[in-house]
């Protein structure tokens, strides 16, 4: 239809002189009529409340949104306190909780697949994006704590790499969460004591360490993880670990337990 219109326009306003006419007749099979770019205008438009919504689009989204909200806002547990990741200490209740439940829920799957146990868990403080507020807990809480698609991975680390891991934790000056490990630092952040499951670490042994894919791939500078062997992706998102734990637990009551302390003198 558009082409027809073009034809009509051309037809009506044509004014050909002889030479261009011959040119066109001879070459129009091969050559496009040339067009020239003479002006470009660029701008960006903000999408805000000054624009009205397309009711069809809004109507299409609504049932999906309602389903998600209904699901995310259903109460799945109750928290007795406010557990924020914000701290000046090296340990947070929510960090310990996340590392501990990662062990608790991942270990049975890992053991079933490999016959081995997870010896320790290491996560990163920066990955905890929100706390658990006092009161009702919903799946949305888990999305706020962990908006990323990080999944649990397990890798075998030799004693040398376990040393690097402990060194990393001691120097990071952050409340990086871990489970089954106990660390005591002096006032200059030197390691005084490092225990695994309450016992001294045997650096001649190999340990199965659980973390998340982001850190395994060098995120937050935890480069020691990639040096490990027998990489195993559990295909279990950390957020789902959290949701699954909330679902099977009525009341969340967390505390720190001095697993990571720095001496003040």
């Amino acid at each position: 239809m558009i082409y027809y219109w073009t034809l009509q326009l051309n037809y009506m306003s044509f004014k050909h002189l002889f030479i261009p006419l011959v040119f066109l007749v001879l070459f129009s099979c091969k050559h496009e009529k040339e067009v020239f770019l003479h002006k470009i205008e660029g701008q960006r438009i903000v999408i805000d409340h000054s624009l009205t919504e397309d009711p069809n689009i809004e109507g299409f989204i609504k049932p999906f949104r309602d389903h998600i909200n209904n699901d995310l806002d259903s109460v799945i547990a109750y928290s007795v306190g406010d557990y924020s990741p914000k701290t000046l200490e090296y340990e947070t209740a929510i960090g310990n909780f996340l590392a501990d439940i990662t062990h608790e829920l991942s270990n049975p799957i890992y053991k079933q697949r490999t016959g081995k146990d997870i010896d320790l868990v290491i996560l990163n403080h920066g990955g905890i994006r929100a706390g658990i507020p006092k009161g009702n807990i919903t799946a949305r809480t888990a999305y706020q704590i962990m908006p990323f698609e990080n999944s649990v991975v397990i890798v075998d680390l030799k004693g040398e790499q376990i040393k690097e891991l402990i060194q990393y934790l001691s120097k990071a000056k952050r409340a990086n969460p871990f489970s089954r490990l106990g660390l005591k630092l002096d006032k200059d952040n030197n390691v005084i004591e490092a225990l695994l499951n309450g016992k001294p670490i045997d650096y001649n042994k190999t340990y199965s360490v659980a973390s998340i894919d982001y850190l395994y791939n060098g995120g937050s500078g935890m480069v020691f993880l990639k040096k490990g062997d027998n990489f195993h992706a559990l295909d279990y998102k950390l957020r789902n670990v959290i949701i699954d734990y909330f679902k099977k637990t009525d009341t969340i009551n967390l505390s720190t337990d001095n697993r990571f302390i720095k001496m003040q003198n």
């Binding site: 067009v35 470009i40 701008q43 999408i47 919504e53």
Partner: protein
């Protein structure tokens, strides 16, 4: 292209009989066309507007509003293309719940013409992207990802040519290096090819073999990397190529208040644009073309 030639021939033949009585003065208005390019990038599953408590972008965005705006621009100029520069997926529970189905369905309702593939579009694996393709009524274009040994084979084109108002617009796509950014188990056998070399090749094909009037690069390389200046980016791509009129970028979530005017290898101007992320903004570039060369005698005027 053949169709246009046909029209010109027919028009010429018709003009033979009517030659006598027509005025000369109307020539310049015969082929005056405006092409509008609308674009988004890194929408990251942001279907609803940002919440009211967000410190920076409270109440901005929302696809239902974007739809209305796009509709208005299309009404104003039917010769409009709507493009997305990748990272359609990931960022809200909509993706976690529906795997991208909703994003593709909505983009189809908004009549997107094409999108390129961002690193996060692999987040449910290449199989997860493939599974959502039936919901997309638009093309995926990427010239530097070789999908031959993946399920995406034949489902992604290196480029696509659109004809709007008699103007041929060639759009090709380039994507970022996946190794180190996306896990191998997600992108599987997708092969990353040098985007700059591919862009040099694509722009030549589109300009000289396909005779496109406008060449657009849809990129998910990122605008520019301060700490890795040599890394493939939109600004580096602009510098190393020719015959590209517009680079629409993504990945770095760069909020350009207005398009950047860069210079290509020949010193000609190339527009580079990116509109941040999350559907907070819509980019709009209007190209004015004319068969009358005198209008561009002093070069192309760029108003940004």
């Amino acid at each position: 292209m053949k169709r246009r030639s046909f029209i010109q021939q027919t028009a010429t033949a018709a003009s033979l009989i009517t030659l006598g009585g027509l005025s000369v003065s109307s020539l310049s208005s015969i082929n005056s066309t405006k092409i509008t390019i609308l674009h988004t990038n890194d929408v990251h599953s942001h279907i609803d507007p940002i919440g009211p408590n967000d410190p920076r972008n409270a109440n901005k965005g929302g696809i239902a509003r974007r739809a209305k705006l796009i509709e208005a621009f299309r009404k104003e100029n039917p010769n409009t293309l709507l493009l997305d520069a990748g990272d359609i997926f990931q960022g809200t529970p909509y993706f976690n719940y529906y795997g991208g189905e909703l994003e593709f369905k909505l983009m189809s309702m908004l009549k997107y013409d094409a999108a390129t593939i961002g690193n996060h579009d692999f987040d449910n694996g290449i199989g997860g992207l493939y599974a959502q393709l039936p919901h997309a009524n638009f093309d995926f274009i990427s010239a530097n990802y070789d999908f031959s040994n993946t399920v995406m084979n034949t489902h992604v084109k290196p480029y696509k040519i659109f004809e709007k108002g008699g103007i041929k617009i060639g759009v090709f796509g380039v994507g970022i290096k996946l190794k180190g950014l996306v896990e191998k188990r997600l992108y599987k056998e997708t092969v990353y090819l040098d985007p700059i070399e591919i862009a040099q090749d694509m722009s030549s094909v589109l300009k000289h073999e396909e005779h496109c009037d406008l060449v657009i690069c849809l990129s998910h390389l990122g605008y520019h990397y301060k700490n890795a200046a040599e890394k493939a980016s939109d600004l580096n791509l602009a510098k190393a190529t020719k015959d590209i009129d517009l680079i629409i970028g993504g990945h770095t979530h760069t909020f350009l208040p207005k398009p950047t005017i860069a210079q290509n290898i020949n010193g000609d101007n190339v527009l580079v644009n990116q509109v941040g992320c999350y559907g907070l903004y819509l980019g709009k570039i209007d190209f004015y073309l004319d068969s009358d060369k005198t209008k561009s005698a002093n070069g192309t005027t760029i108003i940004v």
